[in-house]
Symmetry: C2
Subunit: 158 residues, 2 copies
């Protein structure tokens, strides 16, 4: 993928704030909405979710997830041509005592200061989603496949 496309992907992921999260529920896909932040070291996407919610139970039962981030519908573009990236990866719960937790929490709160009180709730959980593969559709008919590692490098540079 050339530098301009890489920069376009990085702009999309840095500008948008919510993703569609796909989890497995009794063998079928379930899609919910999650705010996300990027791990400062490029390890993946950070999400902070209630343990009472079904998507959290899904991720604890099966770590395979999909994540999709799309450009704004509210722009001038045809919805058929919106840029979007689809990621497949594994969701890992970050326990209270984990060494990486402080950095991930700080990155999440830098993006979502409103979420601070939720870190005081016992039933919220922090997850890191490590991408394995990604497909970036830059517009109509412009699809590019890349590895999770390649995508995270582009996002770090962007």
């Amino acid at each position: 993928m050339d530098a301009e496309l890489g920069a376009q992907l990085a702009r999309l992921v840095r500008k948008r704030r919510t993703a569609a999260l796909g989890t497995l529920r009794a063998g079928a896909p379930f899609v919910s909405m999650v705010p996300y932040a990027l791990a400062p070291d490029g390890a993946g996407f950070i999400v902070h979710v209630s343990e009472l919610s079904a998507h959290t139970k899904d991720m604890l039962a099966d770590a395979h997830v999909g994540l999709m981030i799309a450009g704004s519908e509210d722009g001038d573009e045809s919805p058929l041509a919106l840029a979007r990236v689809s990621v497949q990866g594994l969701a890992q719960r970050i326990a209270s005592g984990a060494p990486e937790r402080a950095g991930l929490k700080a990155a999440y709160l830098a993006r979502f200061p409103d979420a601070e009180p939720m870190f005081g709730f016992a039933d919220f959980a922090l997850f890191l989603i490590r991408p394995e593969s990604a497909r970036f559709v830059a517009g109509f008919g412009q699809a590019h496949s890349l590895s999770g590692a390649s995508m995270m490098r582009l996002l770090q540079q962007g």
Copy 2:
């Protein structure tokens, strides 16, 4: 669900034009973006997708899908509080000769006139996604479960 909530759900689905589609790929969830329209008889959601794309192959291999429609990130609301609805259902390919095809195609093109040329491509397929269940999150902590049939009735009224 009371009338005001039902109306809020109908406004969301009628106003937005793209959904996040969750399909099963080798047993893992994959999320992509699809423009959608509503079937005129309330049977479900209409999508029109390329047979070359992976989500189409996924739906032909396993009809279980998830669909999520979320409010605009670009408004004043916190992304943590965005309204969204998650649907689980079954995707059925509508063959060229099917009696319901003309009505579904017309409803799709009424929403997406740009898509007209794609109906001339041999490798595009029309699907009807019939909802089995839905979960409407009207805002932070305001989640409501409903059957697919109840949701479609609310959308017909809205």
